[in-house]
């Protein structure tokens, strides 16, 4: 399959690489299939919609900042990142993690009950 992405231009991939989100991402429930893309030296992952290739959410694995973050069995937790030209204003949504199983290619988003996870946690801090 071929899609024309905003981040990576035209990319070709085999359909078994698609990750199925049966309930979608909140606000984008109609989009069910994504590619999880990470370029070698890029810190961020990109969750790129197959149905609407211009839609791509930047993600970070939550475990890199929180080793106690709630797990879902066999799924890796990612947070959707809101970019900002100023690195200190880049934030990650810890309230509604995106869980992805890269082996069986499934994913889902969840809203955590706990009050301690904000929707816009600063991902970086000053030296």
């Amino acid at each position: 399959m071929k899609i024309n992405t905003r981040q990576f231009g035209e990319i070709e991939f085999s359909p078994e690489l698609m990750i199925n989100f049966s309930t979608g991402i909140f606000g984008f429930e109609n989009l069910k299939n994504y590619l999880l893309i990470k370029v070698d030296d890029d810190f961020f992952y990109w969750l790129n919609s197959v149905e609407e290739p211009e839609i791509a959410f930047p993600l970070v694995g939550v475990r890199v900042i929180d080793d106690k973050y709630p797990l879902e069995n066999e799924h890796e937790a990612f947070g959707i990142v809101t970019m900002n030209p100023d690195i200190l204003n880049i934030s990650i949504n810890l309230k509604a993690p995106v869980y992805i199983n890269q082996t069986n290619k499934t994913g889902f988003q969840k809203i955590l009950d706990s009050e301690k996870y904000p929707v816009n946690y600063n991902l970086f801090k000053e030296e």
Partner: protein, 84 residues
């Protein structure tokens, strides 16, 4: 929109698997008990709206990635866990 009137301890069923029970009413607040299968997500509407808004902002800002990431230092969350 369907409008139903219920008393305390009375229930509403949505389909065969979801039921909502009125537990208590006081001072402009209603306490509801909801029973639903595990695969049905339940949340307060305003939280859902907030998440949706943040996600749309993330999408709109996705091209604002800073060019220079060499200075990045992760804001480890251990502090957040200890506060709770």
């Amino acid at each position: 929109m369907l409008i139903l009137t219920r008393k305390i301890d009375e229930e509403i069923k949505i389909g065969s698997e979801i039921s909502i029970k009125v537990l208590s009413i006081s001072e402009g607040q209603v306490k509801l008990g909801i029973a639903a299968p595990n695969n049905v997500e339940i949340f307060r509407s305003e939280i859902y709206q907030k998440i949706k808004q943040v996600t749309i902002e993330a999408l709109q800002n996705s091209s604002n990635k800073p060019k220079d990431l060499s200075k990045l230092r992760l804001n480890n969350i251990r502090k957040l866990n200890n506060e709770s």
